[in-house]
Subunit: 339 residues, 2 copies
DNA sequence: GTGAAAGCGCTAACAG
DNA sequence: CTGTTAGCGCTTTCAC
């Protein structure tokens, strides 16, 4: 008898352990373990007796101990740039729900796009022996990925691209083409692209490339504008810009704000198209035409990829890339140009 | 020698343990443990040698093992109703940042307001031996709190009220009074209150009470409207409602949408005041006048309360309530009534 | 079908 | 200042 008596529980209300359950039901630790884990080899009578003791004692398995001996936690880490951005918040929510659906607990870390924080959080996750990590809006820093690889922890990058890890994201170029096409059909010819630091590097480049090639296809000249610069001067003078496609919805919404603050009406005087499909844009007062990303599928596929890597020991298999198609959502921020 | 040789690391790249470090630097486990935990009692020479070995081996402490032997994880759980709601997403973000600032990892759980999910998540958190739990938009279910109490895990309820646990939230009644006062001063006399299930019960009741008492103070009669009902009929006819105060910003925004869809202009024909101060409301196209909650302070105080409970064994100390003052933010959704 | 034994990687007295 | 010792609560062969 390792422990004197279950009565110990009375004066020192500590959490009951597997041993307490074993003692109370008159079996061994292993048997209790077997019933807790449903590992078959237990007679119905014993199982019932053990279950009863568990109930009486209010026994709850200690995941820390389980994970330690198994040498792996049933936990996955999610690194997200900015939880306050609804696009990511929604994805994080979906990840949490889906992950717990398959028995994983998620540890969500907000990195604020700060590399030092990103590294610190990865360190924490590694210390806690996470089984896999999802990177949402990843800074793209080599060292972070190296660290994860060295620790042999599967990684999946969701909603942006990186050639060193499994990725699932939308086809940025196709998305931008959708946007430009839409504006072209409305009659716009002077279409500028607004982008900036708010976007992760690779994504920014891909979206710009998509814009550029779509413009070229129509024999139009590209014009890139930094999101931090004022854009309203472009819409006046001769040969003014009549439409903007932006790197993402947040930039689009800010652009609309800036434009209207300068007295330029959207879409009467100028059209604006966003990218992402955040909830804010759907509001009737905002009504942002945008290229929408399938958040639900992004998370599902991302988690799927991660779980595959976790389950199969495909240590050095090459990165797999899943490309999802974005869709154009036409709302009230686009209209034909003023003749 | 428990382990044959560090060379083992070559053909079976397992994570190095404290023993590997001890062997390589020629000291005992405890000494390595001492330097890792910075527990003073180590000579400078030894410390350096150990640190060097740690570096060479790429040793990373196993938090699972540490927490198991310490019998407590440096983890706190955060239960949130809906991460997709920016109000909560922002608070969760703040909690994560602040908690990790004081050395705690957070486990964030989305409950979707579903009691079964809420219970399941609490169970998971308890199995993982969290040190404390933050409840954001708590369902108020007795059983959840009981479970937590039985496990002796400190709890703090943030942004709503519950008399069985430490709470930090704004003074809902004062907030509603602010809203009504503002409208009264603008000249409104027929002011309705819109509320609904989107709000946790206690909060809904408190806000309604605040509205009611403010109305009474001015000798005005209260009028309660369900958020799911159409409100535009109230603004026509004789003695029409000229302003609405709502249970929260989300309802306010939806109300504005519905009103305008029915051809009623805000604020020209009717004024609307929200509650919470979500980012969406600050957008120029929305410009929602609202009663704002100090999110930053809510999380700081909430976490503070929780940490106090964690640190001091004040097992049965009575719940502490922290009431924070909300502030009125006047934007473009309120104006004097049409004469 | 069940139990005994051997740890998982680490901390925390307690000696020396 | 450093090492020895004894577990934390659980899983997992391997006998019986």
């Amino acid at each position: 008898m390792t422990r004197p008596d279950p009565s110990r529980l009375h004066w020192a209300s500590q959490r009951p352990t597997i041993v307490d359950v074993a003692n109370l039901s008159g079996v061994s630790k292993s048997t209790v373990s077997n019933v807790v884990r449903n590992s078959g080899r237990v007679s119905e009578r014993t199982r019932e007796r053990v279950l009863e003791s568990i109930d009486i004692l209010g026994y709850r398995p200690n995941a820390l101990a389980r994970d330690l001996v198994r040498r792996r936690a049933s936990t996955i880490g999610v690194l997200v740039g900015d939880l306050a951005n609804t696009f990511y918040a929604e994805m994080v929510k979906l990840m949490e729900v889906q992950a717990s659906g398959v028995g994983y607990t998620t540890m969500i870390c907000n990195t604020d796009g700060d590399l030092a924080l990103e590294r610190a959080r990865v360190e924490t996750l590694l210390e806690r022996a996470v089984r896999g990590v999802v990177l949402l809006q990843f800074s793209g820093e080599r060292s972070v990925l190296d660290e994860l690889r060295a620790a042999q922890v599967p990684v999946v990058v969701v909603s942006c691209w990186d050639d060193r890890a499994d990725c699932v994201a939308v086809d940025d170029e196709a998305g931008m083409r959708l946007a430009v096409e839409h504006l072209y059909e409305l009659g716009h010819r002077r279409i500028a692209h607004v982008t900036g630091r708010l976007l992760e590097d690779t994504t920014r480049a891909a979206r710009f490339a998509g814009y550029q090639s779509a413009m070229r296809d129509h024999g139009l000249s590209a014009l890139k504008v930094d999101a931090d610069d004022s854009a309203h001067e472009l819409v006046t003078g001769s040969d003014p810009v009549t439409a903007f496609v932006t790197g993402n919805d947040v930039m689009a919404v800010r652009l609309v704000d800036a434009l209207e603050a300068a007295g330029v009406r959207v879409p009467a005087e100028v059209s604006v198209v966003g990218f992402d499909g955040i909830a804010l844009g759907a509001h009737s007062r905002i009504a942002l035409t945008t290229v929408s990303q399938p958040r639900d599928e992004l998370t599902t596929r991302g988690l799927g990829l991660l779980l595959e890597r976790i389950q199969s020991p495909s240590g050095t298999a090459p990165p797999r890339l899943v490309t999802l198609p974005p869709t154009l959502v036409v709302r009230g921020s686009t209209a034909p140009p003023r003749s």
